[in-house]
Symmetry: C2
Subunit: 452 residues, 2 copies
Amino acid sequence: MSKPSIAIIGGGPAGCALLKSFEAANKLSEYDITVFEKQEKLGGLWNFDWHTGIDQNGEVVHGSMYKYLWSNGPKECLEFSDFTMEQHFGKKLPSYPPRPVMEEYLRARYETEENMKRFRFETVVRYVNFEEDTQKFKVVSHDLKTRTDKVEHYDYVAVATGHYNRPSMPHYPGFESFQGRLIHAHDFKDGSQYKDKVVMTIGSSYSAEDIASQCAKYGASKLLLCAREKAADCAWYHYNWPEEKFEMKPILTHIEGKTVHFKDGTSEVVDAIIVCTGYRHYYPFMEESLRLQSPDLLYPGNLYKNVFWENNPKCMYIGAFHQWFTYPMFEAQSWYARDVILGRIALPDAEGMKKDSKVWMDKESNLPSEESTIDFQSEHIQMYVDATDYELNVPVCQKNFHDFVANKKVDIMKFRDLSHIDPTDGKPSPAPTNGTWMDRLDDTTKTFLENC
Amino acid sequence: MSKPSIAIIGGGPAGCALLKSFEAANKLSEYDITVFEKQEKLGGLWNFDWHTGIDQNGEVVHGSMYKYLWSNGPKECLEFSDFTMEQHFGKKLPSYPPRPVMEEYLRARYETEENMKRFRFETVVRYVNFEEDTQKFKVVSHDLKTRTDKVEHYDYVAVATGHYNRPSMPHYPGFESFQGRLIHAHDFKDGSQYKDKVVMTIGSSYSAEDIASQCAKYGASKLLLCAREKAADCAWYHYNWPEEKFEMKPILTHIEGKTVHFKDGTSEVVDAIIVCTGYRHYYPFMEESLRLQSPDLLYPGNLYKNVFWENNPKCMYIGAFHQWFTYPMFEAQSWYARDVILGRIALPDAEGMKKDSKVWMDKESNLPSEESTIDFQSEHIQMYVDATDYELNVPVCQKNFHDFVANKKVDIMKFRDLSHIDPTDGKPSPAPTNGTWMDRLDDTTKTFLENC
């Protein structure tokens, strides 16, 4: 009898986590696992791609990564407890590493010889449907290198393509004739392209605050932040911004040429508009009955334990939730998924699954504050940790996330200069020794490691 | 017995042409025809979309249209002989109308009540395969409005999505760290965004010459044209460019910051790079055995009469060729396809089809000049005209194309101020009365019609 087969769609942190879960249990050889990855290497959005729109193979550019991105959450909340950054880099690191450090750490974790045998790079999944007669998932994939297709059948399918890659783009009157540069955050590549420019961001969340900060850091002359949401609901409204460069505006009403008119009657001439209005769950390759369609929520629904597609639990989604926890959450979910596949954990019946999901979803719909969403997700990840042999010090991560939010409220430009608690010894990580984040224009691994 | 069914994928000029061919033969009621169109309205790339990259529905922006585009070929070569622009607009028009005029003309031709009943707008085809057991094409489509899928079966499928929508993008060293604006021609929207900027185009063909001209017209300070091809093989190398704004360069070797280094050792600081290196045939929704994969050729191969997929001729491609003739060519092809479907024209056997295609393909591979490609395609379209009741004065179009190329060689900035022969009366069309193309910044239909 052939081995049970698993198709993992996407070789970013989430897809790698599921593969790793089988390696960690020494079960890789008992399953026929294939990871389909559109890009040339693993890493998902941590791969920087200079293309905008369409890539070298004619496919949609996946990642929303930009140059000079530094972790926008504490590294203590995304380290693996059995493989810390200290173990990999040989020294304790400050709390906010730049992208190349994050990428190297991810590769060191997942680019093992055994794992790499399971990858099909530059291979896109075009269509997945469940066949009643074979009781398997039919997966149609396309090899971009040879321009040929494969049709195969799998016992399990795990969707791990992420959901911060397909832009959600609003329209404001005048967008169609704006005489400056208009892009979605997805296509933002390099703050230095906006040197001496007046830049406006639209949007209330992480992308807006980080892209505005990036542009300021690399020389933009003025930053205007606005959002559709009322001020109190904008994350950045609660942060402390340096007044000489940043201005918070109400939402725009319309644009004439390069002049943006705001709801309070004021107007500004802007060179560039960067629309930071987020992304959408987008899985066109899944047949409708298997396709997650949801806003970006902590607990989107139809997924038992936020992983198992309730109507067909051999279809799984890894990482399909609004995120505080990232790398370890993908692994914790994967450990749970693996244990279900291995038969170590039993799934309830359909009604039981829906009932369990409803408890979480009801809870999410009543969360009163940004801080309470941290507590919700801490409880959520703890559930996987309790049910499996995955190790993570959740309470320390939870405290670090709270401190991180508090630090941004004190000074948004300086939160990356501060330190969080290292779960391995309970002490704060070292501070960087080469100035503030605003001064540290060089984001190479070498420079970062030399200054901590 | 149910009617024979036809799925037309794409509601641009090519898809509309096939629908029209059934209307013209009074056969619409005898077939069950569905046109799947991703956009909100018919017109294909003639619809201007302000989005870049991803559209409001999360789908890839189809069109490569930009504002202020004027026809870059004589309108006398793309008019329908039974419905001229004079008939629609009530007066004779100059030879190069702006986009809104072209769009209105197209809508007047195709937006009939009967035709519109066959359209499914905002509906994307996700996957098509031929089923041996039913001998039908299974078409999976997705309605973007309701976010639901349909799986249906059709007797015929016609691919009419065009092949100037999926960019082909090269890499040059320094692209990944260019500190200006780097886009593919697909994402060029508005020349006025490049006012006072130094703009470089890369590429040897129409997009490069027209986008450079556009930028100059709307105020760019300097235009640099370069291409990988040797000078003699660049269309624009043979044209006469005003020296005060335009400079022809050899291909670049690399970029540092905003400084572009060229193969001859010279360098220039540029604000924007617009990569005009063309598009690719891209039909990911067709199963491999039905998928055209080819460079952009006059006669790509595997298609009998450049229409019928030789391995399964109930699968057709309309407009999948490098183009001189456009609108009437799509109709001529469609008339031929329709007559095959109606049984008025018989297809040869597989060997006969391949033999016929080989004659055309061999001929294309020996064409000595740009001018000879006009003659090739004139012979090609004449073949459809001879075989069907489609009416077109091919020799006049052929002459007009030759004159058009000659005019560009004399002065690339002025060819749109000249007139071509109107096939209806053999006389030159009127010249515009409101100055040169360079002066005519207003591209509205009203202004255009008032000045001819």
